[in-house]
């Protein structure tokens, strides 16, 4: 049985909130996507199946709209509004990202809807919050990210290069994570109280509190972090942690060894690969292996021995990295107990045996294409309530008739 079985969600289609609807749908909610006659614009976003544009071929739309049904409704028409109200009467959750006064102008805002569905949970996800006129300014993921803070912390040591925004609408997705958490919270509360509520989610506020040290360094003592290549933005510039391996791929070296067992495993590994002979600082690794207890990292730079041992560990990692592939470095270091990571491209991660064995890739039947496609799978595994893509993304209005019929049966 699904965790959200029996929960009906009405989603007014928007690129900004599609991920929230997917999170709900893939956990079993009955998500009804309301689209205008022309369809949601993201239906025409690339990439396309076999690189051929056309109806129902957008992989972007297909990903973000799994486990949903589609109804075409013109919310500007009286008939559309009346159908919308009938749908709301059957719904638990409304999620939307409309201009801030649009629903009120149509008499379809929370104050109106709560009269026909008293325990409704209405979630509005907007760029700056429902009460903020700037929410109606045109915005894209890029501009919201810039305003919300993440790019300030992301980029390179060379500050003549611009700050970097990560790929793939992470700003919208962060807003959606908060929307979904809010809905789950409100459902748990409704279970004991019977009441619903209106929830105002701000995408830029979500980004503002998803920047780790950038925000709290300012809040605590008004210091400003500086972006650095492939590692945490900090007040001061730190040592590089991203290095190139023998196969031309990068790894993140994490925290250098600081426990005796880690030094010992490093020595063993370097001896096995013949690297120890070419490493003049090997004696410091031996000292590290014989050290009593972990290092006090705060004494690096002050205590000569600790500094020499710590630096030798770091140098050893760089030497190893230059001699093996990124994947060998990752698995070798991890087996020595060191927390390092291979910098995979998304597709390389997807093909990794670990995720395959855990069942991350899933097959979804596309009756419309006459084939199954492989999708990214469960972000979490609830044994009693398996995550699942219950259906491929809907065609435009594919379920209009069936949903209208179900509403007629009710009346």
């Amino acid at each position: 049985m699904s965790a959200l079985d029996g929960i009906r969600v009405i989603e007014i289609a928007s690129e900004k909130i599609a991920m929230a609807g997917k999170l709900l749908g893939d956990m079993g909610a009955d998500v009804i996507l309301i689209e205008p006659t022309s369809g949601d614009p993201s239906r025409s976003f690339p990439p396309f199946v076999d690189d051929e544009p056309g109806d129902n071929r957008s992989l972007h739309f297909m990903h973000y709209n799994t486990s949903k049904r589609s109804v075409v409704l013109d919310l500007d028409s009286t008939n559309g509004q009346s159908v919308f109200c009938n749908l709301i009467k059957t719904a638990d959750v409304l999620i939307e990202s409309e201009p801030i006064t649009r629903l009120a102008d149509l008499s379809l805002d929370y104050a109106d809807l709560v009269k026909i569905q008293p325990n409704l949970i209405h979630v509005a996800v907007t760029p700056y919050g429902r009460n903020e006129p700037s929410s109606d300014l045109p915005a894209t993921d890029l501009t919201l990210m810039a305003a919300g803070g993440p790019p300030w912390s992301c980029g390179y040591d060379d500050h003549s290069l611009p700050p970097v925004r990560g790929w793939g609408n992470q700003g919208f997705q962060t807003g959606c994570h908060y929307a979904f958490m809010s809905i789950l919270t409100a459902l748990l509360h409704r279970n004991i109280s019977g009441i619903g509520q209106f929830i105002d989610v701000s995408i830029t506020a979500a980004l503002n509190v998803t920047t780790e040290a950038a925000s709290y360094s300012w809040l605590v003592n008004q210091s400003t972090v500086q972006r650095q290549t492939g590692r945490h933005a900090q007040i001061v510039m730190t040592a590089e942690s991203q290095v190139l391996c023998a196969d031309g791929r990068y790894v993140n070296t994490g925290v250098p060894p600081r426990f005796p067992a880690e030094f010992q495993k490093l020595i063993t590994w370097m001896t096995e690969t013949g690297l120890a002979e070419d490493f003049p600082e090997a004696v410091f690794l031996e000292m590290g292996a014989a050290w009593d207890g972990p290092f006090d990292l705060s004494r690096i730079g002050e205590d000569e021995t600790i500094t020499a041992i710590f630096m030798a560990g770091r140098e050893a990692l760089l030497l190893i990295a230059a001699s093996v592939s990124a994947y060998e470095f990752f698995t070798g270091c991890q087996r020595a107990g060191l927390s390092v990571g291979v910098i995979y491209s998304p597709e390389e991660a997807f093909e990794d045996e670990h995720f395959k064995e855990r069942g991350f890739p899933v097959e979804v039947d596309h009756d419309d294409l006459g084939r199954t496609l492989t999708y990214p799978g469960a972000p979490y595994n609830l044994p009693l309530n398996p995550w699942s893509i219950s259906r491929r993304a809907p065609h435009l209005g594919e379920h209009t008739e069936e949903i209208m019929a179900s509403l007629r049966d009710l009346s």
Binding site: L59, C154, M181, F198, V209, S217, V220, L384
Partner: protein, 409 residues
């Protein structure tokens, strides 16, 4: 306070941000989150306990600014789980808890004798959520991670980059934040199931899988079209991806390290921007196809135009023209000068028992009926041990003193 989640008690072993962030959300909505720490190691498993930023010159396990930020409104107790009495007390606490949460390396809780089977024997409907980098099953389950390692392995570091450069990655633990969000979702989904069926369960959350799921369309482009994101010439993640736009980037402004993000969604946006720039070169780019094909050249012309301009002034002007634009805001600008964050009450002041009043990250949501509250800072080590043992477990103050003498708490 009576909040949306005040009817839940969480027996919480989480720390850092990937775990603590999850229970921060629950505590802000009123859940009784009891954080359990090791008195022998003075709670140092959570490296943020004693690390900066610091409010003043004081240092120590109770003075960590990040720890305070991530642990608002939680109770903190110490329990030595090496002792049988410590285990007994934990058992009693689990009996009156709804969920047990942790983000240790794989197998740690089990080693202490509190794996899922034991938890279930103590409290049959317990919800147990573990959050570790690679999960508790699979070839890499013993591998250790922290945020940047999760980001590296799940493809997110790679997908943040400029062409001809190494990955830029994320200048913070995006997947500690987001891993915490997924952990909070998992806890609440399992509590919803328990509301319905009365059954608990163990959710094995692998942070790397949550990370992988954040590049969905790129993964479909791979599985369906065999198109890898790893390309010989690299890519700029600042450029548009799915909804194609140009110009679309971060451009320099006057001053030191000042930038502005500008996006033209369509030909109309571009025509409006081009008339505003009003330079000869603008005429060369009338179609989207043309702008996408010659985007390097276009970006260079725009850079030359923006670099003499002050970012907030340019932001205001382009906003009036209805072009998507935003200054790249520095922390102080978005926290203290951007009125939208203040209007949203995003930075509440909490009271920490040692540090005093400190501003922290609030939550980016508001509920009309049961909104969140943050009033108390992160707990000092063992700050609520006596309160919890006396008020929840019915011990006497004398018993608590004895436990302290015996090194149990």
């Amino acid at each position: 306070m009576t909040g949306a989640l005040s009817h839940f008690r969480i027996c919480d072993f989480t720390g850092q941000l990937a775990g603590a962030g999850a229970t921060k959300w629950l505590a802000a909505f009123g859940a009784n989150v009891i954080r359990i720490e090791d008195p022998v190691k003075q709670g140092r498993w959570d490296i943020l306990r004693g690390t900066g930023p610091f409010i003043d010159d004081r240092r120590g396990i109770d003075m960590g600014g990040a720890f305070n930020n991530h642990n608002t409104n939680k109770k903190g107790i110490t329990l030595n789980l090496r002792t049988s009495k410590g285990k007994e007390i934990l058992t009693e606490l689990i009996k009156i808890s709804d969920a047990v949460t942790e983000n240790f390396a794989e197998g740690v809780l089990n080693k202490w004798g509190f794996g899922y089977e034991s938890l279930k024997a103590i409290k049959p409907d317990i919800v147990y959520v573990s959050n570790c980098g690679f999960g508790h099953k699979g070839p890499y389950s013993s591998f250790k991670t922290w945020g940047p390692i999760v980001q590296a392995v799940s493809g997110l570091t790679f997908s943040s980059a400029l062409p001809g450069q190494p990955p830029a990655g994320w200048g913070y633990s995006y997947m500690d934040h987001t891993g915490g969000y997924y952990m909070a979702m998992a806890i609440m989904l399992a509590l919803l199931e328990r509301d319905k069926s009365g059954e608990g369960q163990w959710v094995d959350l692998a942070c790397t899988e949550a990370g992988l799921s954040l590049n969905g369309p790129a993964l479909l482009d791979w599985t369906v079209n065999n198109r890898p994101m790893r390309q010989p010439d690299g890519f700029s993640s600042n450029r548009s991806q799915y909804s194609l736009m140009a110009p679309h980037g971060m451009y320099p402004c006057s001053g030191d390290d000042e930038w502005i993000a500008i996006a033209c969604r369509d030909d109309n946006d571009w025509q409006v921007l081009a008339s505003f720039i009003n330079e000869v070169w603008c005429g060369d780019y009338s179609s989207l196809e043309n702008r996408l094909d010659r985007q390097d050249e276009l970006d260079e012309s725009i850079e030359n135009w923006t670099k003499q301009k002050e970012k907030f002034d340019l932001q205001d002007r382009l906003r009036q023209l209805s072009i998507p634009v935003a200054a790249v805001q520095k922390p102080g600008e978005r926290i203290d000068h951007d009125p939208t964050t203040g209007n949203f009450a995003l930075w509440p002041t909490v009271t920490h028992s040692e540090m005093g009043d400190v501003r922290v990250d609030g939550l980016p949501v508001h509920f009309s009926e049961t909104d969140w509250e943050m009033t108390a800072g992160g707990p000092c080590l063992s700050e609520h041990t006596e309160e919890v043992l006396v008020e929840l477990l019915g011990m006497t103050s004398g018993e608590v003193v004895k436990l302290r003498e015996e090194g149990v708490i």
